[in-house]
Symmetry: C2
Subunit: 562 residues, 2 copies
Amino acid sequence: MKVIMIGGVVVGPKVSARLRRLNSDAEITIIEKGTLLSYGACGLPLYVANLVPQLDGLMKTSYGVLRDTDFFQSQKNAKVLTQTEAIKIDRVNKKVLVRHVVTGVEETLDYDYLVLGTGAIPSIPPIPGVNLGQVFTLHRPQDAQALKEFIKAKKVKHVTVMGSGLIGIETADALSSPRLKVALCEAESQVLPKLLDADMAQLVERQMKLQGVDIRLSCRVKALEGDADGNVCRVQTEQGVIETEAVVIATGVRPEVGLAREAGLTIGITGAIQVDEHLMTNDPFIYAGGDCAEQRHLITGEPVYIPLASTANKQGRVIADHIMGISARYAPVEGTSVLQAFELNIGRTGLGEAEARKRGYNVVTSVSSGLDSTHYYPMHANITIKLIAEKEDGRLLGAQVCGLGDGVKRLDVLATALKFGAKVADLIDLDLAYAPPFATAIDVLIHAATTLENMRLGVAQGITVEAFLNRLQAGEKLCLLDVREPDEVAANPLSIEGTKVIALGELRERWEEVPKDSLVVTVCGLGIRGYDAACMLKGKGMNQVVFLQGGLSVANAYFDKI
Amino acid sequence: MKVIMIGGVVVGPKVSARLRRLNSDAEITIIEKGTLLSYGACGLPLYVANLVPQLDGLMKTSYGVLRDTDFFQSQKNAKVLTQTEAIKIDRVNKKVLVRHVVTGVEETLDYDYLVLGTGAIPSIPPIPGVNLGQVFTLHRPQDAQALKEFIKAKKVKHVTVMGSGLIGIETADALSSPRLKVALCEAESQVLPKLLDADMAQLVERQMKLQGVDIRLSCRVKALEGDADGNVCRVQTEQGVIETEAVVIATGVRPEVGLAREAGLTIGITGAIQVDEHLMTNDPFIYAGGDCAEQRHLITGEPVYIPLASTANKQGRVIADHIMGISARYAPVEGTSVLQAFELNIGRTGLGEAEARKRGYNVVTSVSSGLDSTHYYPMHANITIKLIAEKEDGRLLGAQVCGLGDGVKRLDVLATALKFGAKVADLIDLDLAYAPPFATAIDVLIHAATTLENMRLGVAQGITVEAFLNRLQAGEKLCLLDVREPDEVAANPLSIEGTKVIALGELRERWEEVPKDSLVVTVCGLGIRGYDAACMLKGKGMNQVVFLQGGLSVANAYFDKI
C-alpha cells in the first residue's frame, strides 16, 4: 500500500506515525514544500518572546531528537521529500506530480491513498505596502526568526501589529516590553473577535492597556508606507497615522486549497476542503485534515473552519485508521481555543453569545468571577467565566474564560460537559476535585453555573455591566449600591454618579437608606456579595434590585473608560 | 419558619446562606459546640506547613471578613450559638435540647426543620498511649495550632505520623524538612490505600522517600510509650520501635452520629446517617449533610462515606432548596479527591482498579505518562494517568493521577466525563484547549485514552511494571529492550538483568539483535517510544512483544527497590 502525504507539518507526520504502527509494510511518503517538518507552530510567539531559547526546540521531540528527514526515515520508516512541491494530482491514475523547489526536477509518484495536509497561509489584506521591508508575518519558523533577529539587531522601539486574533494578541504580548511599544490595529470593535464576546474582550483590552499596548479598535489599516530604503515606517489607518519601525500582519489565515481545487475536490462553504466524518474528500482515495480542511461544529452541526494543532493531530489518527479499514470517525468540534497573553489565560468553547443569538437561540448568559484556589493559599488569582445557555432547558451552548487564574482547567471541564450535551444544572452537580491549592470548596465553575441557573429560574436577577452603562447613558436614574468593605472601597472608590456605599454587613441595619425611586444595582468585588445584597433587599420588599454580574472584576474594565 | 442547624462548620453555614437568599423571613439558628465557625479545615496542613501564616486566614472570607457570630448575624441574619451542644432531639414535638458548654445552662429550641451537620471526629485506634502528651490529631484549628507551636517551641526533630490517608500524607509533607525527620506508619501495604491503587501509590512512596520520609508500610502501630513526664517518646510497631518526639494520629475519621442515632434516625451501613436524594433522613423534618451523612456512589449506586468540603457545600444548597419546596436533588458522587503533597499532585475519581475488580467488573486499565505542557515551554512537568474501564464496552469506571505536573485539570475532565457515562473512545474525541503553556498538541489525557483503547482493542499490548517484575521474579526469561537515546540511558541506566539497549531510531536497522526466545518488553522514558518499538517489532513478525506501560516514569518507582 502506497500512501502519500502532501504537507509535513502536522497531519502528514501524524498519519505516518499511526499508519506505521498499524501497518509495517505500507510505503509512506511525505512531501513537504519547505525545509522543516513537524514543528510546533503554536510555539513561535514563545520564541519571539524569548521563552523558547532555540528555534529547533520547536522541531524536537520531548526527548530531544530533531524531527527531520532522518527521524521519519529511521523511526517511522517514512520517506520524506522536503523542498518538494506537489504540482498536480491525477485522480484517475492515482498519481501526484511533484517538483523539487531548488532543482526544478519533476517526478510522478503513484499512490493508493493520498492525504492532503497542505495547511494554511497567512491572509494578507489587499492594501498598499504589504510587500515593504520590515513587514512580517508569524506563520513559519523562518518568520519568527526573521522578526526576532530584526527586533534585536535594530533595537526596535515601535512595532505595529495588524489584527487581534490569537496570533496577533500573542505577538503583541511577545513583543511588548518597557523598551518596545506595540500598537495594535483591529478592524473590528473588540480584540479577539472570533474568540470572545465583546464583554469578555473588554477584560483583555483593559489588561493590554495596563501593560502599555496602544490598542486601536474599529481601526482598519488603509496602507503601509515605506521610507527611502523600501522599509515600512508608517501605518495609515482610519484613525490616523502610526509611526512604526516594523509591522506584523496577523489578520488570520486561509486554507491552502489550490491543489485540491484544481484536482476537482469539493471546496466547502468555509473555503476549506470539504470532508466527511472519515475525513475523506469527495474522492474516496483522498483524505484531508489540518488547516486545509473543514470541520463540523458540535452545537450547530454546520461546517466551520477552525484550524488548530490539537484537532489536526486527532484527524491524523482518524485518517490512518480509516485507510487501514478501522471504522474511525472524526467527531464534531466545539472550537475550543485558548491562549496565554499579558499574563491572562483566555479561552472559549462552543458558541459565543453573539453567535448563538445570531443563530436564533433563546439565550441566557451569566458572567461570574471567583478565585482559582482558596484565598488563603499563597498562589491564587481571579477568573471570570461567561456561560451561554439555552433559556428554556438550560442546555449549555458555550463558555468563555479570562483571568490571571487557572481558567483553562474550567474551560476543559466545560468543553467536556458540552461534548456530552450538559445542562447548566448538570454543572452544579459536577464532582470536581477540591483541595485548597486547586480550587475553592465551591469551585468558581460551580458558582458560575449556580448563578446562571438562579437567573434562568428567576431566583436572582443580574445585570451585565454593558446593560447597566447603556441605561445610565440613556439618562435613566440608577443607584449603584457598593456593598464592599471600607478598605476595599478606599482602595478603589467608584466614580459613577449616584453610587451609594453600604457594606454588606451593615445593609440589614441600614437598608432603608437605599433609594426606592430607582433601579438599585448592587456591586462588590467579585459579584457574590452583590448577589447576597440583592437577595436581602428583595426580602425587604424592594423589587427593583439587580446585582452587577461579575462585580468590579468585570466592571473595572468598563468603568476605567468613564 | 424556624430552621435549626446543628454544626457550624460547613453544612450549617451553607444551608443558612442559601436559605436566607431564598427566604428573608426564616428564623435561622446555628448551634455549634466549639468556638469557631465556618473554617477551612482542609487548610490546616497548609497552616502547619507555614504556607498559611495566620490561622484566622482559614476563618475569613476572601474579602477579609472573619466568619464569626457577628458575620452570620449581620450578613445572613442567622442567630449563632457557639459553645452550645445539642443534647437531644425531640422529633415528636420538634424541639432540640441544647446546653451551653461553659455555663451548663440548658434550653429548648423549637424547629420546623432541623439540619444535622455534626461532622466527623478523628478515629483513634484502640491502642495504649493515645492519650499521652505530644500526641496530636489534625482535625480542628486548635489541633493545628497546638502541633505547630509545639514543633516550633521544642525544635522537634522527629515526628511519627500514624496513617497515610489524605491527612496523614499532607501532615507528613507539612512537617517533613531537612531539620525534621518524619516517620510514617501505615497498616496497609501502600500509602493512600483509600485513594490510589497500589501501582499509583508507588509513585507517591518513591517521591516521599526521595524527600527523606521514613515510610513503614504494612506496619501496624501496637502502642505509644511515654517518658516520665507523660509525653510520647516511642512508637511500638510490628516492625520494631521508632523513637519520636511527637505523634500525629491520622488514621481517618468517623461520622459523628450519636445525636442522630439516639433520636432514632436511621444510620446506614457505612456508619453515617442515611439520607435520601433530597438529603432527608427518615424524618421528613430532619436533613443531614457533610461529614456525618452518607452519599451514593455514581458508579456502584451503593452508599459510601466520603467526607469532603466540596460535596458538603453542594449538599447545603440542596437542603436549603428542598426546605423551600424547590425540587432539588443531590447527585450521586464519584469520590473525586485530590491532594498536593511532596510537590506531587495526586488524585482520583470513580472506582479504583482493585475496587472495580472486587465488585466483579471485567476491567481493563492503562497507565500512561506524559508532559502537562509542551516540552519547549519553560514550565512543564510529568503526569501519570491511570484509567480504569470496562473491557467489553470501554465505559470509564475511574481514573487516578499523580505527578509533578498539572494532573488535576485532567482529573476534573475525567470526573466530568465519568458523570456523563463516558466511554474511553469518547475521551479520545474530547475537544480540549491546546496552547503550548497548557497542554501538548495531543494532550496526555487523550494519549492515555488512546493507549487504553489500543490495548482494549488489541492494537497494542502493554504490560504493567508489576506484572513484568512478577514474571521476572518467577524466573521467566524476559528481555527488557531499552529504546531510549544514548544520553538518556547514560543518565539513568537500567540494572535489570538481560536489558538490551537499542535506540528507537536504530531499531529498524538492528531489530535482528533482539532475542527471539523470550518475551520482549520495550521501555522508554514515558512509554510512547516503547509502544512504537513494540509496533515495529510486531511488524517484523515478532509476536512476543509488549511495551512497559508508563515507561520509566512509572517503572523507576519499582526499579529503585531491586
